[in-house]
């Protein structure tokens, strides 16, 4: 653990992520208003301009629009900050979902030879379809909600995790300590969970961070294309989608969520690289 924290990539990536998490959690106390509030009088304000906003109770408040406002008169600053919650949540849940299903499939395919061919050919099939297409199709069928988007982004990642886990299992299952466990009469499921899985963790953590970064990006893309989360949920993709038509006149609508998106994805990737270097020195040399 100490060697991990000594790595600068981990420090920088982890530090930025930590700040983003704090921002996401503390959004209501950071001078924001309800991100769904709008005021026709405050349309298309430039960043830093003061204006006013009407609450649901009909009260009108003075508010400084730090990142300007969009064409409905909504506060971009509030929407970007609240959007951080959605993005991080989507990233994390996608990674967890893809990892857990992928680990289960990978363990099964790697450990039980008879299952291997069947399962892996199926995964090959899933992998043959472009990820974005799968996501768009799924969202189109199931309609956009947080759960659908997470599912849609996680599914194309599952085969990748499965392949990684399977390859790790194939090499670890030949280790003498696994054979010793077989000789000790340890049941197969316990061998997988206690002997094989703990020795796969390092590469999986690394893979997990890449999935987080990818999921955040895809969520933004889907929302931007209008096939992601419904427009009333503030996400970076939605904010950018709404700013698209006025990009020439009011670039701030796209600029600020874009900066946050780039920063988050960069931070997660840097963290992943740092973890890879510290957890798995062999992999670091190859890549």
């Amino acid at each position: 653990m100490r060697t991990i924290l000594r790595n600068w990539s981990v420090r920088i990536g982890g530090g930025v992520l930590l700040v983003l998490i704090v921002v996401a959690l503390a959004a209501p106390w950071l001078g924001t208003v309800d991100p769904s509030l709008f005021d026709a009088a405050s349309r298309d304000l430039r960043p830093g301009q003061p204006g006013e906003i009407t609450t649901l109770e009909g009260e009108t408040l003075k508010h400084v629009f730090l990142m300007g406002s969009d064409s409905f008169g909504r506060d971009v600053y509030s929407r970007v900050l609240y959007g951080t919650r959605v993005s991080l949540l989507v990233g994390l849940l996608c990674a967890l979902l893809a990892l857990s299903v992928g680990i289960a499939c990978g363990l099964a395919a790697g450990y039980f030879r008879w299952l291997d061919g069947l399962l892996m050919r199926f995964m090959d099939g899933v992998m043959a379809i472009p990820a974005i297409l799968v996501a768009i199709t799924l969202v189109a069928i199931l309609r956009g909600s947080l759960a659908t988007v997470i599912l849609a982004i996680a599914i194309p990642e599952i085969p990748r995790v499965t392949r990684l886990v399977r390859s790790l299992v194939l090499s670890i299952r030949e280790e003498p300590y696994v054979e010793a466990a077989v000789a000790l009469g340890t049941p197969a499921w316990r061998i997988m969970l206690r002997h094989i899985l703990p020795n796969c963790i390092a590469p999986l953590v690394v893979q997990g961070t890449y999935i987080v970064a990818f999921a955040i990006l895809v969520e933004a893309i889907l929302s931007f294309l209008g096939v992601g989360l419904p427009p009333d949920i503030p996400t970076w993709g939605n904010v950018m989608a709404e700013g698209r038509s006025q990009f020439n006149d009011y670039p701030h609508n796209i600029f600020f969520p874009g900066v946050f998106l780039a920063l988050t994805v960069l931070a997660v990737n840097i963290l992943g690289d740092g973890l890879r270097d510290t957890l798995d020195p062999k992999m670091a040399k190859r890549v």
Binding site: E175, E179, L184, G185
Partner: protein, 535 residues
């Protein structure tokens, strides 16, 4: 004039290592036409010395003091360009594992040609002639074909000959051989040793021969240097060092080498039969999409018997099928045909569920102590795993583990620690304890002491012997090392190409070998002229 002169050489270890210097004030020289054997256990710094001479020290191990002279040139701090010129022209090195030392995607001939192209101005025709000559000199059959072959198409011995040819093609003054025969079978080893001393004699090359094996030392050395934890403890002519060692450490090392004379056998005639295999066979089938299927017969018609209190050895070279037999008996792999009876129960064809209660009876200790324990689980967890699987309560299993640690002469506190905190020998003790926790009737040791240093090996062998006698176990001892087999086994089966070629009491097999292969094996055993283990 000496070919190599090492004066007061010290090489630093990175901060935080178990000692400050990898090599500490070591001085010795290698004369023209002399073979100096550098002997030591793992971690003694012998390979580091070789690397420092070749200028191959990793950056983490800087040269701290001393000078290195190659003939009349001080190469201590020679620039890389100069060292590159010297390598293969004046000094060469061969390594332990010829497969990794050769480039797998280049033909052997091209790899040799590369050396000549870099160091000489010869025309392609001359270079070819030279390569053919040196290949003939290292007694490779059909040199033309060898030149056109890729490393994987050759046997281990042939690959090592290619390495030797590459090292000697420019007739260097110094040859450094770092454990060049350790990865080879005994019969191949004896050929390679013969080849090295022959070539060295013919060319007057000085050889720095690094080894851990005193049998090899007895076979090839003119002089011997003994290294211990980076310090040179003894240096002298072979006869002196082997027959009249002065330093305590040398004495201990030499007395740890097991002798080739078999020990007295234990009488187990009336004891119950623990293991019986009848016509046990294992065939690996390589089914391909296109082309005929290929069968590899790893073991064929192996019939063995083992009674309680007895030790049966299976001896053979790599690929002889000895480990296959062991793995079939533990049912880590399924036998293709034949019977395996453990304590009267036929287990060769049992399904996983029916087999489970019987697993307890047969336990195995593997060769590699570093991979035999799960790095992420404590020793204690490893030791209670088996008993817990069979319903022993945790407290009782832990109590048993504590007793076992005492039995294998380790501290009970070790139970809370992780495997990486222990040395190879200690880990092997832990593995033995883990096997014994199951209270087995049959203990299989699959090359269990082969990866250990000779002094540690002696201790572990002694421990195994003591445990076998105390618990009245049947032991199946698999080894490639005839010396170890002679000391441990009551009966031995010699295997070759999947078949048992000779099977009988150790004394009979060792003193009156019948089969041609067994005889060849004994003839190849290094250091037969020295009565090791008798002191």
């Amino acid at each position: 004039m000496n070919v190599l002169d090492i004066r007061d050489l010290s090489i630093a270890l990175p901060a935080g290592a178990e000692r400050a210097l990898a090599v500490s004030r070591v001085s010795f020289s290698v004369g023209k036409g002399e073979i100096l054997c550098l002997v030591g256990e793992s971690g003694s710094g012998k390979s580091v010395i070789a690397q420092s001479v070749m200028g191959l020290l990793p950056r983490s191990l800087p040269l701290a003091a001393g000078t290195l002279w190659l003939q009349d040139e001080d190469i201590t701090r020679a620039p890389e360009a100069r060292l590159r010129k010297l390598r293969t022209t004046r000094m060469s090195m061969i390594f332990q594992e010829p497969m990794t030392a050769l480039n797998p995607v280049m033909r052997c001939g091209d790899q040799l040609d590369e050396v000549l192209r870099f160091h000489t101005q010869d025309s392609p025709g001359d270079r070819r002639k030279r390569i053919l000559n040196i290949l003939k000199e290292v007694s490779l059959p059909d040199p033309e074909r060898m030149m056109a072959s890729y490393p994987h198409q050759l046997s281990g011995g042939q690959r090592q000959r290619i390495m030797i040819a590459m090292a000697l093609v420019l007739d260097p003054a110094l040859l450094i051989a770092d454990e060049p025969t350790t990865a080879l079978d005994v019969t191949t080893q004896s050929q390679i040793l013969k080849l090295i001393s022959e070539l060295q004699g013919r060319h007057g090359t000085g050889v720095l021969f690094i080894t851990h094996d005193f049998g090899v030392v007895a076979e090839i050395a003119h002089r011997v240097a003994v290294l211990r934890l980076g310090e040179l403890v003894e240096l002298g002519p072979r006869e002196e060092v082997l027959r009249r060692p002065r330093h305590e450490y040398t004495k201990m090392l030499i007395s740890s080498v097991p002798g080739l004379v078999p020990r007295k056998k234990t009488d187990a005639a009336g004891a119950p039969m623990v293991l019986e295999t009848r016509k046990l066979s294992k065939t690996y089938v390589d089914r391909r999409w296109i082309g005929p299927r290929r069968d590899v017969r790893a073991a064929e018609d192996v019939s063995l018997e083992l009674r309680r209190g007895q030790t049966l050895g299976i001896v053979g070279e790599s690929g002889s099928g000895k480990s296959t037999v062991a793995r079939c008996i533990v049912r880590l792999i399924d036998p293709s045909s034949g019977e395996v009876r453990v304590g009267g129960d036929e287990i060769a064809t049992l399904g996983a569920r029916a087999l489970r209660p019987l697993r307890r009876k047969v336990q195995i200790v593997f060769q590699d102590p570093y991979r035999s324990l799960n790095p992420r689980r404590t020793v204690g967890e490893a030791l209670v795993e088996g008993p817990l699987n069979y319903g022993v309560p945790r407290a009782e299993a832990l109590e048993r583990a504590r007793k076992l640690m005492a039995l294998v002469r380790m501290d009970a506190q070790a139970l809370d620690r992780y495997p990486h905190q222990f040395s190879g020998g200690q880990r092997q003790r832990i593995c033995i304890a883990r096997a014994l926790a199951m209270e087995p009737e049959l203990l299989i040791a699959d090359e269990a002491v082969s990866a250990l240093d000779v002094s540690v090996q002696a201790q572990v062998l002694e421990l195994l012997e003591e445990i076998r006698a105390r618990l009245n176990l049947a032991m199946l001892f698999i080894t490639h090392d005839l010396r170890v087999a002679a000391q441990v086994c009551d009966r031995v089966a010699v295997m070759s190409k999947g078949r048992v070629v000779e099977y009988g009491d150790t004394e009979d097999v060792f003193l009156r070998p019948q089969h041609e292969y067994t005889r060849a094996l004994f003839e190849a055993a290094p250091g037969r002229g020295f009565a090791f283990g008798s002191t």
